[in-house]
Symmetry: C2
Subunit: 256 residues, 2 copies
DNA sequence: AGGCGCTTGTGAAGACGTGCACAAATCGCG
DNA sequence: CGCGATTTGTGCACGTCTTCACAAGCGCCT
């Protein structure tokens, strides 16, 4: 790409696209901010303070300001952030200005649901292909897309320009699919199969395991149960917990 | 930490086993270890070294040892860990020794898939109720369970002892459902709706947002693209990256 | 124009997580 | 019985993330 002017332009002579290498923790929160911003925009807000936005996104306001400061100074002191401008900025940084094609492999139970999930399209992704290794599933039409055989992947990768692969197969098949995706040049994979994937350097894999989330909750349940079973150390032990139970990823008691 | 207290048989000597408050990062990895251990057990292994297990789980071996050390000393120097014993220990700590009842609210696209997902049952969870607010969906049978109206929640919470609530509704309905779950005593919620939930203190909420995962991958795609587009500053900039691209949560190039 | 209230952006400190490197411990074998 | 090979458990240093607290900047009102 040549000079990719930021959406909002905003001067800064010939500034490079200059994706500042954001902290990973910040990157993980940007989509949340983006969603909150869209909600605010729909509600008619033109500007929002860090306090307001952080509340809508469920994070600490200082954290939000620091996160946003990493992508440049797009706020106005005494006023807040311009909602529309911030949306453009975040979408640019996240690479959402171009609609990315997603190949979904495995149209079983979960794959079916993913194929019909609205959230993808509304966030700038386009499911470009549905694939499965089971011949009996090939040909089925889901949500306007016909399921094709996974061996057609090379051809499909040429037709559509696949940017991201989603694996929703059983664990036993996941590694093979990953290899096939990598072979056709896919460098980002979202893995729903409960297994570890081995991929060459430069390929990013994110994993989502629904059962793991439940197990983490189970731990906290177990822990809470064992705590309430202890009448000792005064009731304060339970009510005075500042945020000790709070998990890194777990949103906690926000109050109203 | 000298006296090993086995989950099942151990004598529950008045005092609660006193779950050592594990670092949250450790808790999040335990389920992964558990899965790897089950695989090893199925493959006939009786013991496993930290090196072997960490490879199977896709983590650093030192990290694994430190994680396991938090739950006590269950390894044997020079030998490794007893697979069966470690499975018991982790399952105990995670509270999986008792099968927990899960209420799934929202049987739309995603809810349907979750209702049919094998991974829950095989990990010690039991979907005890399917609920929906849409009367036209009530009565439908999915995987042997009949969908009931969400207003029946109080009754159901008494019948079954619901430990965890799963929200798979549209975002607009999620907060109301969360309130209903909290009202019947649920203190752990897994939220698939793309919104922030507000819950009272002591209630744990974990969120899974499929679109967010894709957006994070999109960022890395965008970043990789902008890097390869820059021939300047010597090729070293690209090849010399030690692990700079590596994401905290993203598994990276494990090589073979 | 000047002051005042509000909000951003950031320095600094602390909490947390990670990974190296090594001492301690165990087994098997001669 | 002792020795070496092996592997766990952990002290320590380093990097990342979070949070507080506050100066700098902006707009509005008088």
């Amino acid at each position: 790409m040549s000079q990719h002017r930021h959406p909002g332009a905003s001067g800064r002579a010939g500034a490079v696209p200059a994706l500042p290498d954001l902290p990973e923790a910040t990157v993980a929160r940007l989509p949340e901010y983006l969603r909150a911003l869209h909600n605010l925009a729909d509600a008619g807000h033109e500007t929002v303070s860090s306090e307001g936005l952080s509340a809508a996104a469920g994070v600490n306001s200082a954290k939000l300001r620091k996160d946003l400061s990493h992508l440049g100074s797009y706020g106005t002191r005494g006023v807040g952030y311009d909602v529309a401008l911030l949306i453009e900025q975040i979408e640019y940084v996240l690479g959402l200005t171009q609609r990315r094609a997603v190949a979904l492999v495995g149209v079983g139970n979960l794959g079916h649901a993913l194929a019909g999930y609205d959230g993808f399209a509304s966030r700038g992704f386009r499911i470009a292909a549905l694939l499965d290794a089971d011949p009996s599933r090939v040909g089925e039409e889901i949500n306007g897309l016909v399921v094709r055989h996974v061996d057609e992947l090379p051809a499909i990768a040429v037709e559509e320009s696949i940017a991201i692969g989603v694996i929703a197969t059983p664990a036993a098949a996941a590694q093979r699919v990953a290899d096939q995706l990598v072979a056709v040049g896919v460098t980002s994979i979202l893995n729903f199969a409960p297994c570890v994937l081995s991929v060459p350097e430069g390929v990013d894999v994110r994993k989502v395991d629904l059962a793991i989330e439940l197990q983490i909750l189970s731990f906290h349940e177990h822990r809470k149960a064992s705590l309430t079973a202890l009448p000792a150390t005064g009731g304060s032990a339970l009510t005075a917990l500042p945020g000790g139970l709070a998990a890194t990823d777990t949103q906690e008691a926000i109050g109203t």
